[in-house]
């Protein structure tokens, strides 16, 4: 008990590492020292190594697999084929989108890189040698590399195991009749067609697992690269038919995820099965090519978009049709009940009275498992399409790009706002953010410079992207994975000494949870952040949660941490009343301390309450100071962002350089501003990558182009532009306990359109040499820009890639 008559000085929240502190990331200590512990660092006694044989062909019937030569190689312990898995009913597994996916191919291979066989051996070299010794008799079938080919009348049926066409779904949202009427009343209809290319999350660490089944205890422990360990535990319980309490999934340090490590891949399943069969630990570590050609990709969606416009710049209606290329299996790792994910979040920031979206999904002979890459389930496509349509419409109207947006924004006092395709947005100050961005880029001045430069043959351009996006799955009404509702959880244990440990059902992979969650507890309880350990990723210790993706950690798990801390504070208040010998109603809280309302100098710290919880609790009170909170958000969170880029295009080469990038992000209250800024910079870097260089494509024979880092390009510090970040506008989330909104994906979602719009403005803006060109598909490689300028036509980047043949 504090005995001084002076009231102690209030804690400085930033100094104790609470809300708003740009606290250095505690996890980085081990990462920069090379002391991280990743799946490949795990070595268990007697552990064997697994390697996967992949199909060289995109589409072929398997007439036979001869593994005899592989079995003869010394050190080979097991060779598995699809046929052997089929005897245990494990040749196919369910996907998170209610389709099935081959674990190891039985009847056919359906994409280049598909898993055909697996070898388990004493070391990975032997396993690889043995894979090379397996002979597969393939009978080639014609491949399909885009959704248009998929619906041609004579197209070969890819999923002849289950259906007789290549169409997966036909889905729609919105008001078709109302939209038709809006278009009938339009002065002008602006149209655009484009392809958002296939890309890949490409974490530097590939996927992998170490499965360890102990026959004696019946316990299966799997160390694996997963962003969602509890979902994996549930899925393994279903697929492997093991009792859930005997399954322990451990997600150790993760070398990047970006959504790539949400799905369940054949490699995990086969390593688990191999460990069960051999009763020794089995390690599988995917190589880079395996990761790029077989795991969860991103995008690959074709747009036909139309806006109904009035001459004065009012948007009357929006029509959108998308064709999505899902690859050989519909394995989207997305938890919404909507077939095309959250595509219908498009135009959420704009006041559009009528809209109609139709979406089709098709099978192709390409890798399965979409919607990853820093994207809440196709929000990236939705916002890119929106901002490309907005740019084209403003151009068609002859209106200023900024003015057209401002005119059609949902206004600050219009919230809550029902979007035309059915979402409920709740907060934002869109025009204010735009103003900050325009001022930062010196908009009017740039437009003057641009006009001057054009007279001298120089091509400058400015691109704007403005958007609000739904982040933070769920709520549980609309989001579930395999029936499990999308909430999240936190457990807080305050020890006797006032130190604490927090565990959540999320899983950090670069987001900085170990730093940020401690700051939330510091904010709620006044315990210095450095006194709080954060632990995630072990299903035996962490409370049940849905993992980290979709920018959901702070909106959902972060809220749970806050709620768990508030429960602890409620109990601590009763302890304080006991220690202060007053009734609970007379106890007041300030950061880190309870005091007597009428005598503020009489108080007890949270640390003193913690000690009392184990040593001096009142009669009848349960000892201890712990809590668990499960949080089901009432809505998604809706951050808003403005990204503006300026570029110069070299008309002789098509090479373009970024002059300046301004980012205005209103993501509500920022818990750790430094981490938020890091997220925005990372997202903008990935946006620049997709806009300028990054894609996976296929040739007409179904060969993957972009299967290693020679052709799948990650930008380096050399070409990545600098970013000017703005945080002046803060609109707290009305339903999050701390007012925070999701942020992790904003810049990767909204950023690409800023770069593309800037290059399009330079190349095809008013008076530019390529005027009339409506679109160049990403990535805006120099040859595409040059062709658009010199051939004055839209440039498609859709597969198959052109060759001399």
């Amino acid at each position: 008990m504090t005995e001084t008559q002076q009231r102690p000085r209030a804690l400085d929240e930033v100094k104790i590492g609470g809300m708003g502190a740009s606290r250095k990331r505690v996890e980085d200590d081990r990462f920069i020292r090379g002391k991280g512990r990743y799946v490949d660092d795990i070595v268990l006694p007697g552990m064997l190594h697994m390697e996967i044989l992949r199909s060289p062909l995109p589409h072929a019937r398997i007439n036979g697999i001869d593994t005899s030569r592989a079995w003869q190689i010394p050190g080979v312990r097991l060779v598995l084929t699809g046929e052997m898995l089929a005897t245990r009913n494990l040749a196919w597994m369910p996907t998170l989108s209610y389709d099935t996916q081959a674990v190891l191919a039985t009847d056919k291979v359906r994409f280049q890189g598909q898993e055909v066989a697996a070898v388990i051996a004493d070391d990975p070299y032997i396993a690889k040698d043995a894979c090379d010794a397996i002979e597969v008799d393939y009978e080639p079938l014609p491949p399909i590399v885009n959704p248009r080919q998929a619906v041609e009348p004579d197209a070969p049926v890819i999923r002849d195991d289950k259906q007789d066409s290549n169409v997966i779904y036909d889905w729609e949202a919105g008001d078709q009749a109302g939209t038709d009427q809006a278009f009938a009343q339009a002065d002008l209809v602006s149209k655009i067609e484009l392809h958002y290319p296939r890309s890949h999350p490409s974490p530097i660490e590939c996927c992998g697992s170490v499965a360890d089944f102990n026959r004696a205890t019946g316990k299966l422990t799997v160390y694996m690269t997963t962003q969602a360990p509890h979902i994996i535990r549930a899925a393994v319980a279903m697929v492997a038919e093991l009792p859930e309490q005997n399954i322990r999934i451990v997600s150790p340090d993760i070398g990047g995820g970006f959504g790539n490590k949400v799905p369940i891949y054949p490699g995990y399943v086969v390593s688990i099965l191999a460990s069960i069969l051999l009763e020794v630990p089995v390690k599988w570590i995917e190589d880079k090519t395996g990761n790029l050609i077989s795991t969860g990709f991103a995008r690959d969606v074709y747009l036909r978009g139309e806006l109904a416009l009035k001459r004065d710049g009012t948007i009357l209606g929006m029509r959108m049709h998308t064709d999505a290329d899902h690859g050989a299996f519909f394995a989207d790792a997305q938890p919404s009940k909507f077939k095309i994910g959250l595509m219908h979040s498009t135009f959420a920031a704009y006041d559009v009275p009528y809209a109609h979206l139709t979406a089709r999904g098709m099978y192709t002979n390409k890798a399965p498992g979409g919607v990853a890459y820093r994207c809440s389930f196709r929000v990236t496509e939705a916002m890119f399409f929106q901002e490309r349509m907005i740019q084209a419409a403003a151009g068609d109207l002859g209106m200023d790009q900024a003015e057209f947006r401002r005119r059609n924004f949902v206004k600050d006092d219009d919230f809550p706002h029902r979007t035309p395709l059915g979402f409920l947005t709740d907060s934002g100050q869109y025009a204010k953010c735009l103003d900050v961005g325009l001022k930062a880029i010196d908009y009017d001045n740039f437009r003057r410079e641009q006009a001057e430069a054009r007279k001298r043959g120089r091509l400058l351009g400015l691109g704007i992207s403005t958007m609000t996006e739904p982040l933070g799955a769920g709520n549980s009404r609309e989001y579930d994975i395999l029936g499990i509702k999308m909430f999240d959880s936190a457990e807080l244990r305050v020890h006797m000494s006032g130190k604490a440990i927090v565990r959540t059902g999320a899983r950090t992979q670069g987001q900085g949870h170990e730093t940020t969650w401690a700051q939330i507890v510091a904010h709620e309880l006044g315990i210095p952040a450095e006194d709080i350990t954060v632990e995630e990723g072990d299903t035996d210790t962490a409370p049940f949660g849905m993992g980290t993706y979709a920018s959901r950690s702070t909106p959902v798990a972060g809220a749970a941490v806050s709620m768990a801390a508030r429960k602890v504070r409620a109990k601590a208040r009763r302890l304080a009343a006991h220690l202060l010998e007053v009734s609970e109603e007379d106890v007041e809280w300030e950061l880190g301390r309870f005091y007597v309302r009428s005598a503020p100098h009489q108080g007890v710290t949270i640390q003193e309450c913690s000690m009392a919880a184990y040593s001096n609790m009142p009669d009848g009170m349960e000892p201890g100071l712990e809590s668990v909170a499960y949080y089901d958000p009432p809505n998604l969170t809706w951050p808003f962002a403005v990204y503006i880029a300026t570029v110069e295009v070299d008309p002789d080469t098509g090479v373009w350089d970024v002059l300046k990038v301004v980012a205005v992000d209103d993501c509500g209250v920022r818990i750790n501003p430094m981490i938020v800024e890091g997220q925005i910079m990372g997202g903008l870097t990935e946006a620049y990558a997709m806009a300028s260089m990054q894609f996976i494509t296929y040739d007409a024979d179904g060969n993957c182009v972009g299967s290693n880092y020679m052709d799948y390009l990650l930008p380096t510090a050399w070409e990545t532009p600098g970013f000017e970040l703005h945080s002046e506008v803060v609109t707290p989330c009305p339903h999050h306990p701390l007012g925070a909104k999701g942020i992790g994906e904003c810049a990767a979602v909204g950023g690409p359109a800023a770069f593309v719009n800037a290059v399009m403005d330079a190349v095809a803006g008013p008076g530019a040499p390529g005027e009339g060109v409506r679109n160049i598909d990403m990535p805006l490689l120099p040859d595409r820009v040059w062709e658009a300028l010199h051939q004055r036509r839209d440039i498609s980047g859709a597969p198959p890639v052109r060759t001399d043949a």
Partner: protein
């Protein structure tokens, strides 16, 4: 990424290395920087039976000017040695322009110029530079040394004139007869990328500014490094004016034989050759500015 089994030898002398090559059967590879060979082995595109690591051989990590004005690069001189060499900047503008554009800093720290020539990748930068400079490769085998002109050294994609028991020990640029000018430009999608298109120009000019010797070579735009002889010949005896530059650039573009792929159409690549050669001839030494990575 696990290579097949191979034997590894690390000889201490050149003679020992050559004798190991001679006794190593069909498929021995010399390892210098390993920046191409090791990735190819990991991808199992190359599976040599024996690796002969020459990094322990003494006296090969030099680059120096000869008394006659020739320029010599030893087999263990790294790209980075050349990139940071003050000697190169003063005397060899084409090489100085190319050195910072080779791959990325990590590769430049280990990779070697001579190794790059021996790898004979049609997209390789140094082969274009050395062909433009009319350079040579010195090879040493059991019978002693011989000098091979660069234009004869590369015999096809990933193939050279080296015998199986020969080691390339040095690259040589012959002395200049006039004032050296030149540069190298490369279109790459990202730092560290192979050239979508690369052009090397090496000129020697007389006192009146007329071209007395010229070399133009291209990489990335055909099945092998392209020696644009006609383009270079068109410059001889002429001062560098717009008309002759355009003629040479057009001849160079005509000499290119690119394919269409995900990096661009054949037309675009040919156009880039024209643009690069025009730029290099218009301001021959400007390309020394390493920031001109993408010819912007």
């Amino acid at each position: 990424m696990f290579p097949p089994r191979f034997a590894y030898q690390a000889p201490r002398s050149l003679e020992e290395a050559i004798s190991l090559l001679g006794s190593s059967g069909d498929y021995a590879k010399v390892l210098a920087g390993g920046q191409s060979l090791v990735p190819m082995m990991k991808l199992r595109f190359a599976s040599p039976d024996v690796i002969i690591d020459i990094n322990n051989l003494p006296g090969l990590d030099y680059h120096r000017a000869g008394p006659d004005g020739s320029f010599h690069v030893g087999a263990l001189a790294r790209h980075a040695d050349l990139e940071w060499s003050s000697l190169l900047g003063q005397t060899q503008p084409t090489m100085a322009a190319a050195a910072p554009l080779i791959a990325d800093p990590l590769v430049r720290n280990r990779g070697t110029l001579v190794g790059s020539l021996c790898h004979a990748d049609p997209q390789g930068d140094w082969a274009a530079v050395m062909i433009a400079l009319k350079g040579q490769v010195v090879a040493q085998g059991p019978a002693g040394r011989r000098t091979i002109d660069m234009k004869d050294f590369v015999t096809g994609p990933f193939e050279t004139a080296l015998a199986h028991d020969e080691i390339a020990v040095e690259a040589v640029v012959p002395p200049a007869q006039g004032a050296r000018k030149g540069g190298y430009l490369k279109l790459e999608r990202r730092v560290g990328d192979f050239a979508t298109c690369g052009a090397a120009v090496a000129l020697e000019t007389g006192p009146a500014g007329d071209v007395i010797k010229a070399g133009i070579a291209l990489c990335g735009v055909g099945g092998a490094t392209i020696d644009a002889v006609d383009a270079a010949d068109a410059l001889i005896g002429q001062p560098l004016g717009p008309a002759v530059i355009d003629t040479a650039a057009s001849l160079a573009a005509g000499a290119a034989n690119p394919g269409s792929d995900h990096r661009g159409s054949a037309d675009y690549k040919r156009h880039m050759v024209h643009t690069f050669v025009t730029r290099l001839l218009t301001s021959p030494n400007a390309a020394l500015d390493a920031s001109m990575r993408t010819a912007a």
